[in-house]
Symmetry: C2
């Protein structure tokens, strides 16, 4: 499949004088195709189209919008091997992983289609008029949620399908009725173009306004900054580094009209090894831990970067098993040369700390590879140096040795907000775990028992979010169906004649929606 390298501004395909190429991280070699460098003018064009499309797109029928999401999934699948090959070249990720990720991408598009059709996301509420009420009658009051407006989505490097051009942010924004302008991640511009064309084709096939979707490529910060600053953009979805996310937050806050930024930024995902569980299966836990740590070269937001346990011979058994397992791992190619370089710097910083000991380190590989490494630190030293809690994106983890369970709690209380926390525990650990739960709830978005945080289920109950700085907005999730709420706001209609009411809140409930009437949900069908 040949790539055109152009910007997708609605239905226009726009070339630029300045271009860039993708790098194969396995070889450091440039891949084919010169990709356009989008700039502020292109942002303005894409946002103008998105704004123009907004009032039409947001009032499309639920069925049409669901069909769009399903059509996008179909079109992505129809790209076949060509997509998987290109994204493999651009990301260094193996075929099996990419097949799984493509499945997840299509799965979440289809899940959001089902959510759109079902309609509960509209959050319809009705308080019927009470003309006889004393001392004052009550008006007829009806509420629905409407989309906020065009959304800027920033493709992530580490999920080049599932959190990029047609990823969770795009799927949830389109589901809500928001046109989307994607700023593609420069590490995988070819895959971005292919997926972008799949979306654009779906928009066209369903007769929707071209401005429903645009894709801008480029390597400059100026491009993303202009996108977030554009007055027609009303919300931002981002997954990436803390520095990148906070830069976008600052731009969004300094606009004449500030807008919400949903940035998923950094997390070290503490894992607690409780005493009875550790005693019962220290070796198995050590092996499984290394599996989670090194999977995908550790390039997951939910990578277990911190192990917390009370000192004991069982902890030494865990460490011995983990050390042995890390020794057997082979270096894996990382997503980009930049990520590989940052990983080595992060590992060096931990190694250079006077507080840390290296417990285990896998053999170094060539080029842009990641080798697993395991550090140890005392709880007191860990609490004394916040730098030891910085995320090192890749297969690096720190084991915090605690003198007692009070120190475990102190370490948890000292942590910044996280996406996840995990407890390995047996029944004998329940009391101690229960005492730690309030702290975990205050610190994280998802709490796991006897599992590993990598692998995020796309479903209704998922929370891939958490207190700052795990994300810029702890009230939401970026994975799972609740993510649609990020792009909605409530509007109340008071005494509007039925002829003017939107279908969702009309008296006869023509959409058959579940509605909260006088505070109680009434089934629609």
């Amino acid at each position: 499949m040949s790539l055109h390298g152009k910007l997708l501004i609605g239905s226009a395909r726009v070339a630029t004088d300045a271009t860039f190429t993708a790098i194969d991280p396995a070889t450091n070699g440039a891949l084919d195709t010169a990709f356009a460098q989008g700039g502020p003018d292109h942002v303005a064009q894409a946002c103008a189209l998105a704004w123009e499309a907004f009032d039409t797109f947001r009032e499309t029928s639920l069925e049409l919008r669901a069909s769009l999401l399903e059509k996008i999934a179909d079109n992505i699948l129809a790209l076949g091997d060509a997509l998987l090959e290109r994204v493999g070249q651009e990301s260094g990720l193996p075929r099996a992983r990419l097949e799984g990720e493509r499945g997840r991408t299509m799965g979440q598009l289809r899940l959001f289609a089902s959510v759109v059709r079902q309609g509960d996301w509209l959050g319809v509420r009705v308080d019927p008029a009470m003309p006889e009420r004393k001392p004052l009658p009550r008006a007829d009051l009806r509420l629905r949620h409407i989309p906020v407006g065009p959304v800027a989505v920033f493709g992530a490097s580490n999920f080049p399908l599932a959190f990029s051009v047609a990823g969770g942010d795009t799927a949830s924004a389109l589901a809500a009725g928001c046109p989307v302008v994607v700023k593609g991640h420069p590490a995988h511009p070819g895959a971005s173009e292919m997926v972008g064309e799949a979306i654009a084709a779906a928009v066209k096939e369903l007769g929707l306004p071209e401005g429903v979707f645009s894709l801008l490529s480029g390597t400059t910060n100026e491009l993303g900054g202009a996108l977030v600053a554009d007055p027609r953009i009303k919300a931002v979805g981002f997954t990436g580094s803390r520095a990148g996310g906070l830069a976008l937050v600052r731009i969004a806050q300094s606009r004449p009209e500030p807008i919400p930024v949903y940035a998923e930024m950094s997390s070290i995902n503490p894992v607690l090894l409780m005493p009875a569980a550790l005693k019962a299966r220290a070796e198995a836990l050590g092996q499984a831990f290394v599996g989670s740590l090194t999977m995908g070269a550790g390039q997951f937001c939910t990578n277990p970067g911190l192990i917390i346990a009370v000192e004991s011979p069982d902890l030494e058994r865990f460490i011995a098993a983990a050390t042995e397992a890390i020794g057997k791992t082979t270096p894996l190619v990382m997503l980009t040369p930049g990520i590989a370089k940052a990983y080595k710097q992060g590992v060096k910083a931990l190694a250079d700390s006077p507080s840390t000991t290296i417990l285990a380190q896998a053999a170094e590989g060539e080029g842009n590879t990641c080798s697993g490494v395991l550090f140890s630190v005392t709880a007191a030293d860990f609490l004394a140096d916040p730098a030891l809690a910085h995320e090192v994106f890749g297969s690096s983890s720190v084991i915090v040795r605690c003198p007692d369970v009070d120190a475990v709690k102190a370490v948890l209380e000292g942590l910044e907000g996280q996406l996840t926390a995990t407890m390995h525990l047996d029944e004998a650990d329940y009391d101690a775990a229960a005492a730690l739960l309030p702290t975990l709830e205050r610190r994280v978005g998802r709490i796991l028992a006897n599992a590993w945080p990598t692998g995020v289920e796309v479903c209704h109950s998922m929370v891939h979010g958490g207190p700052y700085p795990a994300t810029s907005d702890a009230r939401t999730t970026s994975v799972g169906t609740l993510a649609i709420d990020r792009f909605l706001r409530p509007v109340c209609y008071q005494d509007l004649p039925d002829a003017l009411l939107p279908a969702a809140v009309k008296h006869g409930n023509p959409l058959g929606l579940n509605r909260r009437v006088d505070g109680v949900v009434q089934p629609g069908k």
Copy 2:
């Protein structure tokens, strides 16, 4: 009833060397009682207690938390005439209004009690385990919402009961399970103390931790700034001026851990007079408009500060009726000398504009009074000068004369975000109104037909919110039961043993909650 004038820091009553007094706006005279000037140390003490109370308070039973809200309502009623007299002295508001406002205050506390008991606000979702799923099994995933943490509430001047110490922000935060630290409005410190003691008594009677509620008084910006900056405060509720709200937003955003600020700031609440309605009842509309404009000296967030209509003889009939009605109004005492001064300045700025004409102005009163005034401006002039769209808090309104319906739309599109928009319309106006609806939805939080925006029903469907700068966060409302969502965030539990799961998400559903199971709401009882 004698007042002590002290800060309420949990169960402690704290006097300070520096004090201030309340002013009777009707006389400019100082009222009795020297009130403590709270400072950063007091903020730290109150926030430490709130933090200490948080984990306990947030896990109280739904019944206990509902009882707290009801007990607060009972205790406020038990204050009897003494409360109404004091708040009347401090605010200049008449008795009948204050009786109504007290009723609303108790009503919203009781409404939130019913919401807490019902439990839907927990937003429970369950995706049961699928151990046989291929290629990977699904874990058991459960979601509930938890309160964000201690909340800072800023009492508003214009609703000294319903949006002050025990107002909507406090009620919704307590309902969510958040301890509350109120910064009382310095215009009504006596009423604040009385209501604060009513809350503190309820907290004590129900055996809850003292830190669930504190009340700090003071006249300095430093006090409020320190409160928003305290690391134990996790969200802020505010109703007041745009300058005040934005100052709090800036402080909240520059914290090491930024937090959400729900500031309801300013709105001029456009009212559209559609041609057929205007033709049918211009005089009645003109009279009713002045009733809404001058009620309570126009000191409502939803005061109709902007009338928009196409030029016609019927518009002149409306203006004539409004002019006559304004002439019959009598000056009303405003809430504070500062508000009265700002009103006069705002009116002068409009009068000094070369674009405006004064259509009508009521006779000037003595002292801190407000006299209704009506301006006229052309659509072109209005669009050319953004200052003409600034809120003038009080009974001032601007009529925008439009050459045609396109100009009406242009005026609406040119407005900043608003709390409300109103259309007066008859059936012959429906088509034109339908064409304007998308613009209104994008610009405001509540759309009314054939009504006036003053008078905000406290119910499930109310949205007292809207796009920036009407509020700092358009995704929410500060009035109505949806306001509880401001103080919640989702947490997901993955494979936690039932013994450790919070009751709301336990397998057996012991609380009998409605839950979304695999995406579909299942009734709990």
